[in-house]
Amino acid sequence: MQVPTDELLLEEVRGGNTEAFAALYRRYRAPLFAFCSRLTGNREHAEDAVHESFLKLSRSADGIRSPGALRTWLFRVARNESLMIRRQNRKIVRLAETDIDTPWEENTPLTLLEARDGAAQIEYALLRLKTEYREVLLLREFEDLSYAEIAQITGSTPSAVKARIFKARKALAQKLGL
């Protein structure tokens, strides 16, 4: 059976087909949730970001100019939602006058000492990277996106993405003590 393309499914969503909407959600829920989860460091915030992204898809399906690049569109929206949710959360944390520097520390049971195996160690190190470094590295390493696609998602240029990924790798190596 031939798998329907994003373009076809989006066309169906525009026509009000709920099954097509569910099919697009099934296709992108796991990578989008993983990306948002690693970007915010918080599963609840990631859920909110993915929910908002699909809410925008249902409302703005007609306005997506290049249906062939739906993946990039979804990741861009999810990235912006994640960053906004994180900013809002930081404000709440500041208002509560707590001394938490980063919102994820509260919800991540890891510390560098507890991170015994390599996967947990690198996950924790990724969370400690600057957001501008973390987002490009996540999109490159987990989603295998090109520099041009990452530039579209982050509102940057391919050459800037190239430089940021390099700096991200240097920073990550330093945090891992490699």
């Binding site: 909407f21 959600y25 390599g118 390493e141 987990f142 990550l172």
Partner: protein, 148 residues
């Protein structure tokens, strides 16, 4: 080219963002430069470590939230139930009605057991005590009136 420029090029090379012919200059530099060689090794090693990070699982709660978006207001919940049910089946391979029936059966058994246990009409338990040399004595666990 400086070592920083070379390393930025190496970083792009491992991302397949540098043409082969351009990459040649990086490798001739790496052959003589310990620092840049270490950067290449570290980058490749980190890539392997990142690949081993497990993917966080999506919760059924998110499925229900997002699929509720797809439904126009005022429409029956049947469609949403079907969509959530199909996602459930895709993940666990167990049909949602079968799980619901199993849970209902467990709850029903628990209720029947509780009713039987708490029923006031239960007959007093009777025990027979044998003592050699004595006539047979019947012992009732309830009150004297119950035994009558």
């Amino acid at each position: 080219m400086s070592c920083m420029e070379i390393q930025e090029g190496i970083s792009a090379f491992i991302d397949d963002a540098v043409p082969e012919e351009e990459a040649g200059s990086f490798f001739s530099h790496i052959a003589d430069c310990e620092e840049c060689r270490r950067f290449l090794q570290t980058s490749v090693r980190m890539r392997g470590m990142i690949a081993r990070i497990p993917e966080p699982g999506v919760t059924p709660h998110l499925d229900a939230r997002v699929l509720a978006i797809a439904l126009p207001a005022g429409r029956s919940g049947g469609k949403a139930r079907r969509l959530v049910s199909s996602l459930w089946q895709q993940r666990l391979g167990v049909p949602l009605p079968a799980v619901a029936a199993g849970i209902a059966l467990i709850v029903l058994s628990a209720l029947v057991s509780a009713w039987l246990w708490l029923s006031p009409a239960r007959a007093p338990e009777q025990e027979v005590v044998y003592i050699f040399g004595m006539p047979q004595i019947e012992v009732y666990s309830g009150t004297h009136a119950d035994a009558q």
